[in-house]
Amino acid sequence: MNAASWGWLVLLFPLFGSLLIGSTYRVLPARTAGLVGIGAIAAAFFCGVAALISLQGEPAESRHVADSLWQYASVGGFEIDLGIYVDPLSVFMVLVVTGVSTMIHVYSYSYMKSDEGYHRFFSYLNFFVFSMLLLVLAGNYVLLIVGWAFVGFASYALISFWYRRETATKAGMKAFVINVVGDIGLVLAAILIFRELGVVDYEAVFEKAPEVFTTTNEWTAVAICLLLLVGAFAKSAQMPFHTWLADAMEGPTPVSALIHAATMVTAGVYLIGRSYPLFELAPAASDVAAIGGLVTLLVAGTIAIAVTDLKRIIAYSTMSQIGYMFVGVGIGAYSAGFFHLMTHAFFKALLFMAAGSVIAAMANMQNTDRMKGFYKAMPFTAAMLIIGALALSAFPFTSGWFSKDEILDFAAFRGGWYEVFVIGGYIGAFMTAIYSFRIIFRILPGPPCEEAQHLIDTGHVVHGEPVNPHTGEHEDTEVGYPGSEHHIAEQARGMKIGMSVLGFLALFGGLVQVPGVTEVITHFLEPTFEDSPLAAMHPSTSEAWKGLAKGGIISVAGIAFTWLLYIRRPDLPGMFRRRFKPVYTLCVNLWYGDQVIDFLIVRPFKALGRFADRAVEPFVVGGLTNGTIAVVRSAGDAVRDMQTGMLRGYAVLMLSGIVGIALYFLIRSI
């Protein structure tokens, strides 16, 4: 079996799992549905490993296979195949996606146990994994768009999973609409690619692109890449398309972990990495990508320091870290960027899972202001939280340390104006340490809060009234709302297993890419990026270690500063808040992103709609239809008036006709 066949199997298992669970939801018991879901993704993971093995068996130059199932369309020179492209990059993404997904499925097996929509959850989750795999395995831009759209739909379905909650459905729609804006960019880019190059297959496009775009920064190439960026930014919640990610936290925690931390939001990074030949022909666009990533990195970091909702802090942290990945692929550090993607998947999913456990202990309340003293009440969760935060802050020797600093090393290596990324990156790293350990130092130490105390005393999770965590509205526990029971990691084996594996990977996963020692990722991804001059650039090992040392110092300094703020001198945060009130207000209001979009886009469109309703509809559309009716009716009336029955009237009509025809012939003969 060659790699392509394994690729098809990778796609088949999740799809089959989704369909099976979805169609048999009435008969299948909940546990079986969960096991089917887990099994499907695990099977996909093993097929991915098999594809990896078969790929590595080939010599480096030929480690790419394109296979097509059938020709989807062949219209006017436009040929689209239902084809996949298996090469190191796609296998890498497949492994990351399926690996992390398996762990999250195991976690959800326990977490969602009391939810009435259990089957629906697993069906959607499997469908999402299928879509994401389709996206990364697609062999041409059209199939990529298909996967892209499916992923957007799956995200919508899962964000609004508790569909009877109005906040959730609104958040789902918001996410979908912003995603669609990105889709438009992507489709336009595909159209332009076809117009300029005449093909949409990856292999053909990347071959022809240097022939067609002979100079760098030709405006069509830049346009294509900028449109691709629109799609990437929208999907990965970078500014200015970021407003949907925070609201997407309305979805269940496993959804946040999988989609909005590890996989879907990284699709933008994958897109840029995959289209690197196009981006290297239009360096202006790559720079735009990197700058966009940098801006998002910094702004999201500031917001994460200010907000208090646990899941939202982690969401903004995700936005910030993806900014790092965009910087990475924007400046040409492809393997570094994807390495960070992998480690981020590990520790971010872990953080979300731990957060889910804490929120369950708080009876679905998410505000960190009230959470205290969980170190004693939930030791396992606390440990996982700490591991995740350490990796996130790039504490020395965690996976995050190796990956984040590799990107900054490359930026420093490129020199020139790319130094700005180094500076911004280190500032961002400092902020990362602050906001990650802010969570830790607020939730874990100290005297236990009410819910934690209840847990310590009785060993049961406190049972609260089911309410909407944001609006406080009363809910019930039937289908469409969260289940009645809340599961914490200490008591649910599925959650424990999922979190443990990811915790291990978050701690030790970085060891695969130690500069100068292992560098597995770089070597693995080399065949994909072999034509890139940027990827060939490599900072020397000693430089790399120097950069790593710098990063480690900043990380430790940040952690120490946060410890100072929250443990030693707890009055300081309040003082900072008062001293820098305007800055604080700006951050806590999310830099007014929603309001800006409302002003710039929503209001004009609404005005346009009103105009269409008031002016266009009655006059143009109404005019056309009513006008046609009036014309036809008056013609009918005129004809009816002729039917009088009067002989002389008919004679007159005949005569008029004769006169008319004679006139016509007279004039014609003249």
Binding site: G645, M646, R648, A651, L655
Partner: protein, 99 residues
């Protein structure tokens, strides 16, 4: 004598006849005006026959005479039938064929 004179005369007689059809209400007079139109046509035919020097037009006129006679018979028969049934002799009253 140029042929156009006769043809213009024929056109004039035809128009006068048509005017009569439009203006008069007594069915007998309407039929009379129809005769006028027919005879105008006959005049045109005779003129052309003279122009071309063969007698085809004259034979045609004979046919026209025959047709006129038959039409008069049937038309006047209808008028008499109307009179006998006490229907007003007015073409405007006969409106049954409307719609």
């Amino acid at each position: 004598m140029a042929i156009e004179w006769y043809l213009v005369l024929s056109a004039l007689l035809f128009s006068v006849g048509f005017t009569g059809v439009l203006i008069r209400r007594n069915p007998v007079v309407v039929l009379l005006c129809l005769e006028l139109m027919l005879s105008a046509g006959a005049l045109a035919l005779i003129s052309f026959s003279r122009l071309h020097g063969d007698g085809d037009g004259q034979v045609f006129v004979l046919m026209v005479l025959v047709v006129a006679a038959c039409e008069v018979v049937v038309g006047l028969g209808l008028v008499v039938a109307m009179f006998r049934r006490r229907i007003a002799l007015d073409v405007d009253e006969m409106k049954e064929l409307r719609g």
